[in-house]
Amino acid sequence: MVRDDEGSGEVLSDEELVERGRAGDDAALSELVERHHAAAYRVAFSMLQEDDAAQDVVQDAFIKAFRALAGFRGEASFRTWILTIAGNEARSALRRRGRRRETALEDAGPVRSQQKPPDMEAVDAQEAAWARKMMGTLPEKQKLSVALRIEEGLSFKEIGEIIGSSEGAARVNYFHGIRRLRELLQ
């Protein structure tokens, strides 16, 4: 974790890390990777449904983002910026792959195993794999809107920036996706 060297002990913001990274500070870039690689991976995975390809996308996205850091002016947050690039890279990868192929259930990647609050029913692995498979069938903007809102906690405004839509369109995509999933999963 990169902290302020002036001794205040505060955790640096993304904006401060970007500033330092621009000045050539490797530790600052490293911390940006730490903070955002997981979300970038989940975005890439949701589009590609494949681990290796998603990892390649995350790597390429950070390399491109850091190469371009000098011109990053912070109109968007670093988070929305890196996720936008990851989304674009994933789309390029999809196109390179040609036509999106059917992903078998057993290829759907490892299910997150995590402790749940005691009042929650456990989501079993099979159910989770099925949910992910159904997510994979949604149109891209719906899928991304649902994933970014629920998995990453982004606002509709941020989601709009990432999928290249207005805030209102991101919201509609989200609720369409939710409604479709409700039908598919019930």
Partner: protein, 158 residues
């Protein structure tokens, strides 16, 4: 007893299931859910989605760091010397390969640089259920859409 509206709860469901709500809001949502079956079903669906999210591979952060470090060393001119225009192009998904020297393309296995030069978001999903592309619609039209999606409106409040 909560007088929170379903519509508000639906907005907060994702933050509720991921534990991101402030404690007070969390309590309000919880008490609404006790009395509202529809919102509870919405929470269950969102929780399933949240908990089904894919595991991030352990070594990924280090792999990315190594690749970034390698990239910085392998570029002959200052690696950060890319223009603001290139950044805008990057976010739009427009390639900027002409701005870069030839380098290290094949040095990292499985790693490719090129970006396609199309607008990456003009995709097949512009149409939803036969509706016109959402981005072309006014805010009023989008609100109409949300009404039709029955986002909390019909359920009343608990």
């Amino acid at each position: 007893m909560s007088n929170m509206k379903c519509e508000t709860v639906r907005e907060w469901v994702p933050d509720y299931v991921s534990g991101r709500l402030a404690r007070l809001d969390d309590t309000s949502v919880r008490s609404h859910l006790k009395a509202c079956d529809e919102c509870r079903a919405e929470v269950e669906l969102a929780r399933l989605i949240f908990e089904s999210r894919v595991d991030v591979p352990d070594g990924l952060a280090n792999r990315v760091r190594d690749a970034v470090r390698y990239d910085r060393r392998s570029v002959s001119r200052p690696w950060w010397g890319i223009t603001a225009a290139a950044v805008a192009a990057l976010a739009l998904g427009i390639g900027f390969s002409s701005d870069r020297p030839e380098q290290s393309e094949s040095a990292i296995p499985g790693y490719a640089y090129e970006l396609d030069d199309e607008n990456l978001w003009l995709s097949d999903d512009g149409l939803i259920a036969g509706a016109p592309a959402l981005d072309a619609l006014s805010d009023e039209a989008l609100l109409q859409f949300l009404d039709e999606l029955d986002v909390g409106g019909a359920g009343g409040s608990a």
